[in-house]
């Protein structure tokens, strides 16, 4: 059995997984697996639609959050969207920052869907980012089936 670290440092378990010695592996499940496989293999962002109320969700839902119906209709999205809100992260957060600050998080209202997606904005200086900006995804060349297969969203004309 592995030694447990000094107790004061163990409360940082969620930032440094080694400290409390509980490794995690999360099951992605049927719905998100399908979404990630499309993203990884075909570089496409899909959504699913409620057969009852027609709401289109991205990331996809297992059940419609309004009707609780099974979500089996899948829709391919163009991938573009509009920035609904954003923030420029200025202060470093060790272990959490996906890149060195300053960088930008945004909620992007996706074309063809009724929801927004949270992701990074890149390919533009943070101070130039505006609400209402039109953006498109930039995909990583090597993808392994996670949200980071999308490198960021960049502004388009």
């Amino acid at each position: 059995m592995r030694q447990l670290a000094d107790w004061k440092s163990e409360v940082e378990e969620v930032v440094f997984p080694g400290k409390i010695c509980v490794p995690y592996s999360w099951t992605v499940g049927s719905t998100l697996s399908r979404w990630y496989v499309q993203l990884r293999d075909d570089g496409e962002i899909w959504a699913n639609r409620c057969p009852s109320c027609g709401t289109v969700y991205v990331p996809p839902k297992i059940k419609c959050i309004k009707c609780y119906k099974d979500m089996n209709d899948w829709v391919k999205l163009p991938g573009t969207g509009t920035i609904e809100t954003f923030t420029v992260v200025n202060k470093e957060r060790p272990g959490l920052d996906p890149k060195k600050p300053p960088f930008v998080y945004a909620v992007i209202k996706m074309d063809g869907a009724d929801t927004g997606m949270v992701h990074l904005i890149g390919g533009v200086e943070p101070e130039k980012v505006k609400v209402g900006m039109r953006v498109a995804p930039v995909l990583e060349k090597e993808r392994d089936g996670h949200i980071t297969d999308i490198k960021h969203f960049k502004p388009i004309a």
């Binding site: 107790w7 004061k8 163990e10 409360v11 940082e12 378990e13 969620v14 930032v15 409390i20 995690y24 999360w26 992605v28 499940g29 998100l32 969700y57 991205v58 990331p59 959050i65 609904e84 809100t85 954003f86 923030t87 420029v88 992260v89 200025n90 202060k91 957060r93 272990g95 959490l96 920052d97 996906p98 998080y105 945004a106 909620v107 992007i108 209202k109 929801t115 927004g116 997606m117 949270v118 992701h119 990074l120 609400v131 996670h146 949200i147 980071t148």
Partner: protein, 370 residues
Amino acid sequence: MGQTKYETDKRETFHELVWEVANKALNDAGITVREIDNVVTISSDFWDGRTISTMAVSDTSGGYDKDITTVEGDGTFGVLYGMMRILSGSFGTTMVVAHHKGSESSMAGITNTSFDPLVERKLGLDAITSSALQARRYMTVSGGTEEQFALVSVKNHGNAMRNPFAQLPMDITVEDVMASEMLASPLKKLDCSPVSDGAAAVVLAAERSAKKMTTNKKRVWLNGVGHCTDAYRLGDRDLADTRALKKAAKKAYDMAGVTLDDIDVAEVYDAFSYMEPLWLEGLGFCEDGQGPEQIERGNFTLDSELPVNPSGGRLSANPVQVAGLAGVIECVLQCRGEAGRRQVRGAEVALAHGINGMCGQSHCVWILGK
């Protein structure tokens, strides 16, 4: 009721904090632990760094060999469950006690774990960055400015100077807030609540049990409550839409039989400066989009018609899970006339509000009074 002074880096362990407030609450109620029929602790396995967080405090909360349970969420939800247990007829009194030691953990790391490990968590979102997204959305929708939000911080830190329990009493200006370190735009350090340690407890009693207690402290009644939860992913809802809060508030007002005009004082969960006007819209005190302007007009200061956050609010002390309970306690103090230099004159009906989850996904609203 009882609360600790809120501060950071307390040297006591959280069991000791719970012991302190449980005793304070028992003394305040004029009873001993024998008269407590059951205990609801409010604790989090994450912030405590221990699974089964109740175990750590089951004795100091007065729960030894008693019926004890744990709500994991804001204190306001714990009070709700504590009350329902009494109303079920099974218990006459409930001890509700919350604790938190933010200084023993990483706020960013722990709030990051509330994001879906399958999607958003890897991006590194946490409480401050996600709230920043909400703040800017609110600015877009309402036209609110960073300066208007800064006024909330000035007001609440100023109020805290009259509250001996508050962590951050400060006499600051809008310029001070605007000049403070930018963390994630538009949120600057002074727009954000601090990392806090603390505990708080209340003793709830059914009407028939309360009448038997010999304390000469004025009883404050829980007259109305409502809670409601919105969608999970940040993109699933309009972050400036307070529909879940509106639903919770309506339930509380209907149950208590009050209108907005009846409310004399309110403790609203201002984890960030922009949240105060946003939640005031959800509670109905401002029209949608009008929150920032009303703040600027000074409509919620200590000497206004409806003082909001006379305690200094969460901006002045934010021991997570405890904070909503601290708001309930402030309402109790106000209704009893024991709020010292921050007393709202003639306060008879008070509102306490708590949130759970990121960006106020879930809300609980209380109406307390005579």
